[in-house]
Symmetry: C2
Subunit: 330 residues, 2 copies
């Protein structure tokens, strides 16, 4: 009978929340601090810090030592969300007004920069020797550079009629998966894992991250109203080149129904009926199901990599994290 | 007879330019890389890296070892310029279109973030022991947080009718002086200076930085057409609360001539004649001269702090750097 880890998960999230609040409770410009705290204090699943902590323990280290590192990545995650929302002009995040709406665009740009700065200040407090600190610093800074590349690819893709499958996967890897990979890699380094474990944990999280994003695309079309703040089908109206859309555009080449998708895709004025028709078409031709299977395949491969760890409660929780990332409710 | 250090300065700037080009010559998203290189490759005086290198040598270390650190700060300086120009909607920088004009706003926001990320990657290559690396990391990340605060104060000040003298100086310290202070402090740490030297060099650069900015405000009103890209008096039209304006608004309280300043201040449609009249008034009541003297006083105090260094060519060059920062041509 599988153990119930929900109490443990809740405790870990509570620790992360408290640590984050502490890092963001600093003196200084009051409005800027409020803008910085706007997303982090709105909650979130804290997947990146939790992953770092669990991996550190799973390789035989102390999870507590990975907490500041995990928090640094959570701050970076939030910094990218603040800037993403400015760039995409998204007015809502986690059911609250986006930072650039609750404050203004200049403040949102500056608050993102300030979160980024504090992340490195937190990183400097990780209690490891100099060489491991240097390694973590390089890993995190390179990761943020890749995230920036992914965000740029995402911006550029919006203006392109077609996007190849490989380009989509490259974008998702950079925009989403590398930060997970950095979390697991860093957790393994801090926990004193072997080089093989460091590599395997990085790959585990990379696969999980790609699956997570594709699953998110599926939820964007099939999820229910519980997913507050993002109406079903908004990706269609926004013209997002998700894997589902990329797949459908390929398959509908020369198909008389193609216009049902293209009428709604990237059309901010598309009616609800047009969007529903487009989603039905994506379903009928199997694009949604293929994306689901694709994500599940990534999840399966991620779990296989956990075999480099000794059996433990933490390993079990890392397995459950995959099931959450790829498989959470439709 | 004072030695001519121009050849040495030129060589140092050349080394910095080459190192920066190397750091920015990386594979990746071609357009993003071009946007990142837009400001750094447009040149600049490289004051922050030069200062770090000179201080490292002046305390008895090797300047070469401070080069990556100085370049990291130069990348950070350029990242803040990219975001500042987006925020202030400034279309021109160093005589070229700003990044958000040459590309677009989303690309400018992302390119700034990417420059910031690479700065920390470069910082990770500084060849010092773990504890000094940690100290540099904390200094740089805290500095960027303060720069963000200064930028936020600058943004907020635009909407306020009056700004106190202390608030202006606090803003200038954060927006401009702390990055210089970080450069000199880091150079002293890398060069193996004593704790007294580290503190004195930090204070030297802080004073220089404040003087530099006030001198810049003076040049903005009294400089000639050589200062490409920023027409004389644009600070008046933009409503900038410089020390000169803060001083004048205080002194003109109840003075019948006050409207000559307020008619032009923050009035984008002010005629050239209105702006010239405002500048003449600032001159007549002594506000410009007082700011000049104020900056020169900071310069004097900065130079005094150099007495903690043994006499050397580098100390002489640090003295000349003050004269350049506060005293460059009107």
């Amino acid at each position: 009978m599988p153990m119930d880890h929900s109490a443990r998960t809740k405790e870990m999230i509570g620790n992360v929340d408290r640590a984050l609040a502490g890092y963001l409770e600093r003196g200084g410009h009051e409005k800027l601090i409020r803008a910085m705290r706007h997303y982090p204090e709105a909650g979130g699943k804290r997947m990146r810090p939790t992953m770092a902590i669990l991996v550190a323990e799973a390789v035989g280290g102390r999870g507590k030592e990975a907490l500041p590192f995990g928090c640094a990545l959570e701050l970076i995650h939030n910094f990218t969300l603040v800037h993403d929302d400015v760039i995409d002009k998204d007015p809502v995040r986690r059911g609250r007004p986006a930072v650039h709406i609750a404050f203004d665009e200049p403040t949102a740009i500056i608050a993102g920069d300030a979160l980024f700065a504090i992340a490195f200040d937190v990183l400097a407090t990780v209690e490891v020797d100099g060489e491991r600190l240097r390694r973590l610093l390089r890993s995190v800074s390179n990761t943020v550079f890749l995230v920036a590349e992914g965000q740029q690819m995402d911006v550029d893709n919006e203006d392109r009629p077609t996007v190849a499958r490989e380009e989509y996967l490259d974008m998702v890897e950079k925009k989403t998966a590398v930060l997970f990979a950095c979390a697991a890699e860093g957790g393994a380094i801090i926990g004193g894992g072997t080089e093989e474990q460091v590599r395997a944990m990085r790959e585990y999280a990379r696969l999980l991250g790609i699956g997570f994003q594709i699953w998110d695309d599926v939820l964007g079309l099939k999820g229910d109203a519980k997913r507050v703040g993002k109406p079903v089908g908004s990706d269609i109206r926004n013209g997002k080149r998700t894997l589902i859309v990329v797949d459908a555009l390929e398959r509908l080449e020369g198909d008389g129904r193609r216009h049902i998708l293209t009428d709604a895709l990237g059309n901010a004025d598309a009616t609800d009926e047009q969007v529903r028709a487009a989603v039905r078409l994506l379903e009928d031709i199997g694009s949604i199901e293929r994306a689901r299977q694709f994500a599940l395949d990534y999840a399966r491969r991620a779990k296989e990599l956990l075999s480099c760890l000794r059996p433990s409660e933490e390993r079990e929780m890392l397995r459950e994290m995959v099931d959450y990332a790829v498989g959470r409710e439709l």
